[in-house]
Symmetry: C2
């Protein structure tokens, strides 16, 4: 295992210190609770948004904390859920009196621990709503999950709901928007290589020199099919078909598209993939109205990518364009 | 070779189409000349900035085209210099009457071809200045270079000089600033793995399962030393020492720091590295006044990182903070 780390036990803590130091103008880091918070929070009267999950998916979620997006992100160990006391502490720390929305990716540990954290806070009178994101069309159940996994739509939900909270929407409205985003978002991923969890010390899985895995999860969980490597054109066609036929997306739809690198894929390949996706959407009468191309929800150093499409109404585009100021997404400010 | 591409001959063109489609609001792409330009250019009366070089280092340089940074970027094939006619066409296309600055990384082919492009334009009466960036402290001469290579300081020079041009500085002033940035910037890189150039089809070099290469170039050119993998703390200490003692940086200095991933290094490791660098700077009385942590000048999917430090005066910090709107760097707008 070749990693740029010190002790495997300190990876998450030391990275959190680095994030805090690099973005001291935006963030404060509670090292004890492994939680990243807005430096200017809690914001009185604003619905607060929290997400979190295992580390190793950076910039998600800590990179999305800041004005117009999350109020806090709870970090677990690499690919390990954060604990209920982290979510409890974060919820209390960010609540500005208007309630707190938990945006939870659908992994069994995350869902359970967020639920327990929410109950502890609700018992003390804090209004908490939770929305579980389950946008991955690849498989129904998987190694870490009952039902569909939560992947790229999470990033889009955090942006859109963060903007809604920032303009003053109430907890029910922000939670309903989050459910709508989840309902209208679909994703699928693939991998060329495995990643290696530092504490495990060896690759999560093995792929042959000419193999790829289609439909893989963000922890290297098995996908739909292991097959011989194909051209980018064929791969994007396969994945787009699975995504587009699932909602289904239709001619006339406008979408927000995320072409996401898994951590070890060069940006030049991601733009080549975006070109393929854009052509497919055009041919079907679907307009990509907004897009992100880059590393937004990663699996350590895995080579591969995922596509997320969100059917977006005008309201969502307004929220997308609203100012955001986080380490990983920034515009309008 | 596992790559997310179609035909190796089409990688650069197809990626350029993808970049143009994803950022149609900011950029226009001349596919014939493989050049990315500001959509709103040429800007009359503004000094124009051009850079360029081999592809495979994305987001450099195409990702830095836009308001407050570059006016055009010429793309060569992967790790291959663009040709003089590309620089000539780009220079003519962006000139708004105030002259054009060429920001050139010190690689023999780039320097030669930019020079020829400049001469062709000067013969037609366009004022062209060129500044060669040579900030890599690792080795004096290398596979592609006489003298020191141009690496991370290029990104910082493009930002700072772009801001100076945007506020109306004249060609001499912008060129002098670029020389000053180059004089005060130092970089060094390392790799855990090789990258694979698509057209070559096999890794540029081999590293053993417990080896790293210190001082490597952005094309995988050999560095200072191949040695057994060490801890992040030891690696950053070694690289920082080489950088800090070279200028030398001194107690009381404030710097702009770039902790740059080579393309295959997870962001969690880059933040851990930033923490080590920040501690070393603090211990020496050097203040990191601004920073970037992420993939800014890459070597395809190489695992590894580089550190760039630029001794910055107040003027440079003002230029750093000025608005910028490009695919890869955006703030203030």
């Amino acid at each position: 295992m070749k990693k740029l780390i010190n002790d495997t036990a300190d990876v998450v803590s030391e990275a959190l210190v680095g994030i805090g130091a690099a973005h001291a103008d935006l963030l404060r880091v509670d090292l004890d609770k492994k939680t990243i918070m807005r430096a200017d929070g809690p914001i009185q009267g604003k619905v607060a948004l929290i997400s979190g999950g295992g580390s190793g998916h950076e910039p998600m979620h800590g990179g999305y904390v800041g004005m117009g997006m999350l109020d806090a992100a709870c970090a677990g160990e690499v690919f390990t859920s954060p604990t209920p006391d982290q979510m409890e502490a974060a919820t209390k720390a960010v609540d500005g009196g208007a309630g707190v929305l938990h945006i939870v990716k659908n992994y069994t540990g995350d869902v359970m621990n967020f639920e327990m954290g929410a109950e502890l806070c609700q018992a003390e009178g804090i209004a908490v709503e939770a929305v579980v994101i389950n946008d991955d069309v690849a498989v129904q159940d998987s190694l870490y999950t009952a039902g569909r996994r939560g992947v790229g739509t999470t990033v889009l939900a955090e942006k859109l709901c963060g903007a809604a909270a920032e303009r003053g929407d109430d907890l029910q409205a922000v939670a309903n928007l989050c459910r709508k985003v989840n309902d209208q978002g679909r994703s699928m991923g693939m991998a060329l290589t495995s990643c290696t969890v530092p504490a495990a010390g060896k690759p999560t899985f093995e792929l042959g020199p000419n193999e790829m895995e289609i439909g893989i999860g963000i922890h290297g969980e098995p996908g739909r099919e292991r097959m011989e490597l194909k051209s980018a054109r064929e791969i994007v066609a396969m994945m787009s078909e699975a995504i587009l036929s699932d909602l289904p997306f239709e001619s006339g739809d406008q979408v927000i598209a995320l072409v996401n690198g898994m951590g070890g894929t060069p940006l030049i390949e991601l733009y080549l993939i975006y070109n393929e996706l854009n052509q497919i959407c055009q041919a079907r009468g679907i307009t990509i109205a907004r897009q992100l191309v880059g590393n937004y929800i990663t699996s350590l150093e895995m080579a591969g990518f995922s596509i997320t499409l969100l059917r977006a109404d005008e309201e969502m585009l307004v929220l997308w364009d609203a100012p955001v100021h986080t380490p990983a997404l920034r515009w309008g400010v």
